[in-house]
Symmetry: C2
Subunit: 216 residues, 2 copies
DNA sequence: TGGAAGAGAGTGGCATGCTAGAATGTTAGG
DNA sequence: CCTAACATTCTAGCATGCCACTCTCTTCCA
């Protein structure tokens, strides 16, 4: 049940139900979720290790502000992980795994045609998860997701405004093509290029919404 | 003070004071460290997220067995992170940072000459920490360390037997040289080559001490 | 004698009282 | 009117009681 409160709080932070900088009152959370302080404390401890909240002893826990340093760091980490995964996978990926990728990409094309951005976003996540899962390493996805969490929180502030599903789809196909031709160098390059795109969309946010950011 | 018990337990697991598979009794830990169950629970929760212990609800907490899959995954992750860091750093590293690396390497040479393996190991860690810190990303080191922890636990079973400080020193210098010549490709290659060496020393352990391993 | 069922001990997880310290609002003094 | 010190109120963190569940050892029956 601590797991449940953890996921609940995490989701609330990511979709800005809890605003950056806002205090998270344990007593409030307890009565809202109908649980005791123990599971809430454990959940907050996990959120603190992820950097989503900042705990000040004997004072309070606060939702972390956006930090351009942490966002860049998260982007760097995910690029390091997924680019290496693509390179590693190029010489090992099976035809079945490639077929799963193609199936996912076909669905992405439908979502683009129907302008279903929510559906596209889900398939985007699944596409990257498929690639990481194909390596056979089980925890890679959770590490990448943890690294990515700060980028993702900022992305939600930007992407509804400036979508780029068309370009994203092309880049996804490029990754698939590099993998299917079993070219490690091209696979790393395609994945790296793809992941570097988003950061350019996020950078301006610091100037547009400075109140959300931690003055590093 | 939960932090203190966490570090204490973590160290005990890493140097095999707690053997793989052994049960960790909370009550025992409480009276040993003289603390209550709350900080112990929090520490164990953190260890569980790192994969160092396995918690079976209402049954017990057990030190994780070695797992060749997790060891390979940790090695993959660290290579992904540090190789990318080396590539990233090649075009950004300052002369001061290079000087710090050189100073560290000079000390490593002394340790090799004096056959002080413990001292060399400490400098080895510092060398890699220096490189990660030079990127300006603050959490990189803790992520790499968390990823590496399973490899490190296995390493301690091997390296006292089969040291390779001489070869390691040569590889460290190669990394430094690639960085100082500001060559991203060579830097990534040198770091990747260096990190891939250790795994070859660990692989045989699975056959030598199968009782320590989780039959994946 | 073997196997299964039951009783007991032990475990992790949740709930809750308590304490030390930080922040804020108020009051007293300059 | 401003400043500084104090008191009140809040917080996180630790200690501890309680409970539901698991495991093991013993006992009883086939």
């Amino acid at each position: 049940m601590a797991q449940r409160t953890y996921q609940s709080l995490r989701a609330a932070i990511l979709d800005l139900t809890y605003l950056p900088g806002q205090a998270m009152r344990k007593s409030e959370i307890c009565e809202t979720l109908g649980v005791s302080r123990s599971p809430v404390s454990e959940a907050i401890a996990r959120l603190a290790t992820e950097g989503l909240v900042r705990v000040v002893p004997q004072a309070g826990t606060f939702v972390s502000l956006f930090s351009m340093v942490e966002i860049r760091e998260g982007a760097f980490l995910r690029e390091a992980i997924e680019s290496s995964a693509a390179e590693y996978l190029a010489s090992r990926i099976t035809d079945e795994q490639l077929a799963l990728l193609r199936r996912n990409l076909k669905l992405q094309e439908i979502m683009v045609a129907e302008a279903d951005h929510g559906g596209f976003y889900g398939l985007d996540r699944e596409f990257h998860a498929l690639i990481l899962a194909s390596t056979g390493f089980r925890k890679l996805q959770s590490v990448a997701e943890t690294a990515w969490v700060h980028v993702d929180r900022a992305r939600k502030q930007v992407v509804p405004v400036r979508g780029r599903v068309g370009e994203t789809l092309v880049e996804h196909w490029a990754i698939h093509d590099a993998l299917s031709s079993r070219d490690p160098v091209a696979s790393r390059a395609a994945m790296g290029h793809h992941l570097r795109q988003l950061l350019a969309y996020i950078e301006p946010l610091e100037k547009e919404r400075p109140e959300l950011f931690d003055p590093d």
